[in-house]
Subunit: 229 residues, 2 copies
Amino acid sequence: MAYTYEYPRPSVTVDLAIFTIREGKLHVLLIRRGGQPFKGKWALPGGFVLEGEDLETAALRELQEETGVRDLYLEQLYTFGEPQRDPRGRVITVAYFALISSDRQELSAQTDAAGVEWHAMDALPPLAFDHEKILEYALDRLRNKLEYTTVGFQLLPKKFTLSELQGIYEAILGRGLDKRNFRRKIALLDILEETDEKKMEGVHRPARLYRFKARKFEKLKDKGILFPF
Amino acid sequence: MAYTYEYPRPSVTVDLAIFTIREGKLHVLLIRRGGQPFKGKWALPGGFVLEGEDLETAALRELQEETGVRDLYLEQLYTFGEPQRDPRGRVITVAYFALISSDRQELSAQTDAAGVEWHAMDALPPLAFDHEKILEYALDRLRNKLEYTTVGFQLLPKKFTLSELQGIYEAILGRGLDKRNFRRKIALLDILEETDEKKMEGVHRPARLYRFKARKFEKLKDKGILFPF
C-alpha cells in the first residue's frame, strides 16, 4: 500500500532517555540497533509514531517493545527537527525522559538479553543519529529539575538515609557536595521526618532512616520546590 | 506534484503563543483565520513546517508572515499530537512561546490591520483547533517560569519602578500581591540597584527608578533564579 500527499511530509518518531543511578553513577538505558541506519551502534530506545497513536502512547509502546519497561511516568523533553538529523530523510523526533529505580524487575530480565544495557553517562559509547545531543539536552533538563522540583526523590526507597539522598544529587550533578551544607539545606526544606529505624552503611555506625512528611511533600511537589545545590 | 510513501505520515506544524502585558493585563497575540478549517475563528499564529526547514525557523517565518514580528527569542513549549486534533487529518504541532513588549513597532503597525489582535487572557474568544489547550499549557509554563527564572524581567524597560515590576508579576499570575511582601522578596534577591532618577506614578509622589545589577543578574539568569511569589 502507498500513501500519496500533495506536499512532502516528514516522518515522526519518539525517542526515550531513561535514567537511573547504579553504583552511585547516573546511567542511561541504550539499545543496540539491529537494522540500518547505524546498524550495531548504540541508540536511545524509540521508533516511529503509528497512525492514530498519541505521541506518549507511541513512546510507551516503543519502550516496552525494546526494553520490556511498562507503566513509566514519562515527561516530554523536546522536539528535535533539524532537517539532516536522519540519513533516511526528514525525521522529526519527540524526545521523552524518565527517571527509574534500577531494581525494576522487567529491566533486570531484559538487560540480561543482548542489545539492551545501562551505560554510565560519563562513559558513553558513540551513539546513532543525534542521540548524543538529545542526551546532553536531557541531562541539562534533569540537573535543572533537581534544583526546583522533587525529581531526585523518585529514585529513593520509602525509607532512606541522608547519605543515600545526597548520593542521588551527587550522581545527577556529577560532582561531590559538602555534607554539612547539604544537610542544612535539606533541613531548611523541612520535608523529612526521622523513623525509629537505622541502617548499616559501610564501616560507620548505623545511619538513621528518614521518610517524607507525606502532606508537606505533596504540597511542595505540586508547587515545584527548590533544591539550590 | 505528489509525494508517495510506504507508510502514512503526519503533517507537522508550528504554533506560537506570544504574550505581552497591556494596561496591566496579560494578552496573547491571535490571528483571525482566513481559510478553512475554522474560517473566521481566532487562532494562534502558525503554519506548516516546510521541507528542509528547521522547526524554529518555521516558527519565526510564520510569525513574521502572519504578524510582522521579527527576531524574537522563542522557547519551545510542547508538542501536541493527539490524532484527532485537526479535522484535516493527522497534524502534529510543535508549540513555541515568547514574551514581548507591547510597544514593538511592527506590532503596532500590524495590529491596526484586520486579522491580528492582542486579546486579554481573561477574555478570550473561542479558538480554532486545540488552541485553548495549548494556551492553557503556555500560561502554566509562564507562571511556573516566573517562579524560578527572570522571565518576567523581559517585559521591563531598562529603568523601572518597583510598582512596574510588581505589575508584571500580578498580570502574569492574574492576582494581586502584597506590596510589602513583594518588596521584601525582591530585596532578598539583591539584584536591583537604585538610580538617581524618579518617575511620576499617578497622583503619588515620584517613585524611584531601579535598574538591574548587571553582573549579578546575568549570573542569576544563567542559574535560573527563584521568585517564590
